[in-house]
């Protein structure tokens, strides 16, 4: 379904829920580690606080640093318009899944450049490592969603979920599981989660994502944080709607939409729990062990496409 109005509602939902998901993950992690942890709503308070703070800009920075937070956030907003959440509709004529992946690439591209902009060593380190990870994980993401596209005969995300929901379990093939596994690893890698990166670290030599944001403060930092929280929810939404969209409404009526909403929230919680569990039970990997896992994701995605043809 191509429905700009529904797309805007769903995008607003994603943006609104983004800090909450991060809050839930942090809370669950805290509980698992027998800490009390900050309140679930803490990310909202953090953002609010950051928006009220003045900021410092590096004297070496250029216009790239200035526009990056807006570009990153804008890319996430546009991507959010293309991802169905509770009903199989999106702003489809705007673009398909390839566009979504390239919007993520846009945000990453600007962020990596902004990290280099101030000339700090940490920025360079973060940028270099982020680009290494993304060079291998982006093709994995593309191949994973291509296998969903091959099964459903469309690359439009709303279309994919529509076909899967209507087709039901007949369409669930090994391809989908392989692709989902690849996409799950990619979600961890792209969103700077353990074992790829530690979102809580402030030890400079191990940071990847945080190192890139080191020079941002105040409102700009708030935008960058918001963009990365949104990105996580977008990845979760894509993971469910491209591979297992069951429960999603196919028409705009009260009952299906309510079921769709509940299904989405449950899935969101499940994913957040999974991430929190992984983060509590694993440690961050050494940088040069990451490629094994990254290529693992790439190969899973590749096998997913292959299995579509062979099986």
């Amino acid at each position: 379904m191509n429905d700009p109005l529904l797309a805007i509602i769903q995008a607003a939902l994603i943006l609104g829920l983004a800090p909450l998901v991060t809050g839930i993950i942090r809370k669950v992690k805290a509980v698992l580690q027998s800490r009390q942890g900050p309140p679930i709503l803490q990310p909202y308070y953090d953002l609010q606080k950051l928006f009220r703070k003045s900021s410092v800009v590096s004297s070496d920075a250029s216009w790239v640093s200035i526009i990056t937070p807006y570009v990153c956030m804008a890319a996430m907003v546009v991507a959010a318009l293309l991802v169905p959440v509770f009903v199989t509709a999106s702003f489809g004529s705007l673009g398909d899944l390839i566009v979504v992946v390239y919007l993520f690439a846009t945000a990453r591209f600007f962020m990596a450049l902004a990290a280099l902009d101030a000339g700090s060593t940490f920025g360079g380190m973060g940028s270099s490592r982020e680009m290494m990870i993304s060079s291998i994980i982006e093709p994995a993401i593309l191949l994973a969603i291509f296998s969903a596209a091959l099964i459903t005969g469309t690359t439009d995300l709303a279309g994919i979920s529509q076909v899967l929901v209507v087709g039901g379990y007949d369409l669930v093939r090994p391809t989908l599981f392989l692709a989902f596994a690849a996409f799950f690893i990619a979600t961890l890698a792209e969103n700077a989660r353990i074992p790829f990166d530690n979102p809580a670290t402030h030890l400079e030599l191990t940071m990847i994502h945080e190192a890139m944001l080191l020079e941002y403060s105040g409102k700009k930092l708030a935008l960058m944080e918001m963009a990365s929280m949104t990105k996580l929810v977008l990845f979760i939404a894509i993971a469910w709607s491209a591979f297992f969209p069951f429960g999603m409404a196919t028409e705009v009526a009260i009952l299906p939409v309510a079921i769709g909403l509940i299904a989405f929230l449950v899935k969101l919680l499940l994913f957040a729990l999974a991430i929190a569990l992984i983060e509590s039970s694993m440690s961050k990997m050494r940088l040069f062990r990451l490629p094994n896992l990254l290529t693992g994701s790439f190969i899973l995605a590749f096998l997913a496409v292959m299995s579509f043809y062979i099986l």
């Binding site: 003045s54 807006y70 390839i98 280099l116 940490f122 490592r129 291998i136 982006e138 496409v305 062979i310």
Partner: protein, 681 residues
């Protein structure tokens, strides 16, 4: 008989190029006049070329011939020019790039004043443009071969223009050798076709493949692949490209990378689709061969671009990568055509042509930008650049547009062509041959990997050249380049954005070009209003213009919300966080350091050699540490050197008979004569 403007404009173009070139030589000593005449003529030439191309695309083909006919054997031929739709498209591509490059050159060649002859440059520049135009408009094999040779020679002399630099001279020599090996293969292949058709005229060669034996046809296919592949720069025939393109003056590099290598793509499309024809599943192997070679070529190109330090060599390797991407689409078009899926073949061929066009725009822009960096700093070494965005503000913005296009950021033009290529590869699922499906899927994976690596490559390029602090005095003292150079780049930057946004309006024209080649027109379904969609119903759709509208709404609203929410807050300028130690350019990440992680990941490919040495002097606390890393040139070392060794070895062996004594030579002649008399008695 229709009266076409082109009937007059095309001869005018030839006159302009020749007059402009030769008057530049006459005015050699008067710098200003020489530059004005040479590049004024070139700009007028390109403007006429654009008009001719557009007229042909709208009105239909143009035919011209000089009243000269010659005879070779029993075959007569004239000096025929035929501008059909395909030629017109490439004419448009060449001239659209040539116009801004001519403007740019006005400022750029000033640095040659007093060092090298400007007149010679003007002549070669004009002849180079003319030869490229003749290559894509030649109406028969003879005209084509003459133009092809002229193009190779002009570009050779331009590559070695800075002749006092011995490295450039040797790069030129390698180029000359490689290009002539290619020319020999092309000549062989085209003569094979000519004998089959008993004519040199391209019009008689149409669909000649139908009348050829399978073996001869396959040989022709392979010869053309190798011949034109050398010019296009597919791995492993690419070795000349990363040496010759950087050696040439930057405006010439822009033309060579932007359009010269595309003339090979033109001839591949012309010979494969027009002459030999792709008929039936028996020809699918050829498409698959292209997919394989092209995807390897793209990946290897980008892997080398990642670790290169010379800014122009990075761009040259990136051209190898992009030619790979173009040929992936071309291979897909062949596979689809072979299986009779003409609509998908049309989609893939449209994607091929669009990427040809778009790549010429952004690679032209990037090479001009690299030229500006070279002009301003005098160095091509990325390790010595940095911080140029503060000193060259306009250049940094224009160059950024080129970078956004090449890494396929929506809605810039590179994204549109890449999206179409992805779609055409994905749609291969409608083929019912598992092996073909798997191979296409492999190409898809390689293409995705290539795209992601290219993004890293250009983050490194832009970040290291334009951002942070200068890494050398040259970079710290850089000044903005002259207006004419900025104008040339600005035109290309505007085109990069506009062609992406308005791609739905360009596609119907491109469809007209491909329709006669694949036998079906898909414009109606591919580009509907603002939205691009695949010809297979509801497979996917994308609208570059809508994306940019939404972005244009989102960006200012986010800015407004961010500044309003929480009240206006002050913004201080401070130092970069430095952990308390004063930050200098030595703390910055270097280009080598930036891709070191990736180099380690792909070290199975690079086989890089590193060595660390520690020198202790008289003071036990002060030691000198040096670190060195190098990447062997695999193709040169393991492929070309052994061949060159064998060839020179054989030549030396053969040299035994060259004794230098006249009696021996007379004896040779006598023996040969005897043998000939015995054979042909």
């Amino acid at each position: 008989m229709r009266a076409l403007l082109g009937d007059y404009l095309f001869p005018l173009m030839v006159i302009l190029a020749l007059c402009g070139g030769f008057s530049a030589v006459m005015l050699n000593s008067r710098n200003k006049a020489c530059i004005g005449v040479a590049f004024g003529a070139a700009a007028a030439f390109s403007a006429c070329g654009i008009m001719v191309a557009i007229e042909v695309l709208v009105e239909g083909p143009l035919m011209l011939s000089l009243p000269i006919t010659s005879v070779i054997g029993q075959l007569s031929f004239g000096f025929n020019i035929v501008v059909d739709q395909l030629s017109a498209f490439f004419l448009l591509v060449i001239c659209t790039l040539a116009l801004p490059v001519s403007i740019y050159s006005v400022g750029y060649v000033k640095e040659y004043e007093g060092h090298y002859g400007l007149g010679r440059f003007g002549l070669l520049f004009n002849l180079f443009l003319l030869s490229m135009v003749l290559v894509v408009t030649a109406g028969n094999i003879i005209v084509f071969l003459i133009a092809w040779e002229l193009m190779s020679l002009c570009s050779y002399f331009l590559v070695t223009f800075e002749s006092r630099d011995t490295e450039k001279a040797s790069a030129g020599l390698l180029y000359l050798v490689m290009t002539h090996i290619g020319s020999a293969l092309i000549m062989l292949a085209l003569l094979l076709l000519a004998f089959q058709a008993n004519s040199f005229e391209f019009s008689d060669l149409k669909n000649i493949g139908l009348f050829m034996g399978v073996d001869v046809r396959s040989i022709a296919f392979i010869l053309l692949l190798l011949g034109f592949g050398t010019k296009a720069g597919i791995v492993p025939l690419h070795v000349w490209l990363p040496k010759a393109h950087p050696a040439a003056p930057s405006n010439i590099s822009a033309l060579m990378s932007g359009v010269m290598i595309k003339t090979a793509i033109y001839m591949l499309i012309r010979t494969y689709f027009d002459f030999l024809g792709i008929n039936g599943p028996g020809d699918a192997w050829l498409g698959l061969l292209f997919l394989l070679i092209a995807s390897i070529s793209a990946l290897i190109g980008v892997l080398y671009a990642l670790v290169e330090k010379d800014i122009k060599r990075i761009l040259a390797f990136s051209s190898i990568e992009n030619v790979g991407i173009i040929l992936i689409a071309f291979g897909a078009a062949m596979v689809f055509k072979a299986y009779g899926l003409n609509e998908l073949a049309a989609l893939a061929l449209i994607a091929t042509l669009l990427h040809v066009f778009f790549h010429s725009l952004f690679k032209g822009l990037l090479f001009l930008g690299a030229g500006s960096i070279l002009h301003a700093t005098g160095t091509r070494n990325l390790e010595k650049l940095g911080g140029l965005s503060h000193r060259m503000k306009v250049t940094s913005v224009l160059f950024f547009v080129g970078v956004l296009s090449i890494v396929a950021i929506p809605p810039f033009n590179g994204f549109v062509s890449e999206w179409l290529i992805f779609q055409s590869l994905l749609l291969s699922f409608s083929l019912n041959d598992v092996l073909v499906n798997l191979l296409v899927a492999t190409a898809l994976g390689m293409l995705a990997l290539t795209g992601a690596l290219a993004a890293t490559c250009f983050v490194r390029f832009y970040g290291m050249a334009f951002l942070a602090r200068p890494r050398s005095r040259e970079a710290a003292e850089a000044k903005e380049v002259p207006r004419s150079m900025l104008l040339g780049m600005a035109v290309l930057a505007a085109l990069c954005l506009l062609t992406g946004l308005l791609s739905t309006y360009i596609i119907p024209t491109v469809d007209q070009v491909t329709a006669p080649l694949v036998g079906t027109s898909i414009a109606g379904r591919l580009a509907g209003g603002l939205v691009l969609q695949t010809p297979v119903s509801s497979f996917s759709s994308m609208s570059p213009i809508l994306i940019s509208i939404v972005l244009l709404v989102a960006l200012p609203s986010i800015y407004l919300i961010a500044t309003r929410y929480g009240g206006r807050r002050s913004e201080r300028v401070g130092d970069t966080w430095d952990c308390g130690t004063p930050l200098s350019e030595r703390n910055e990440y270097t280009p080598t350091g930036f891709t070191q992680p990736l180099k380690r990941v792909f070290n199975g490919f690079y086989h890089s050699k590193t060595s660390t040495s520690i020198e202790t002097g008289s003071d036990p606390y002060l030691r000198k540490l040096s670190f060195e890393t190098s990447i062997p040139e695999v193709f040169e070392d393991y492929l070309y050197r052994p061949i060159a060794k064998i060839v020179t070895g054989l030549a030396r062996k053969g040299g035994v008979i060259q004794t230098g004594s006249i009696q021996a030579y007379l004896a040779y002649i006598f023996v040969i004569l005897l043998i000939l008399l015995v054979i042909f008695r």
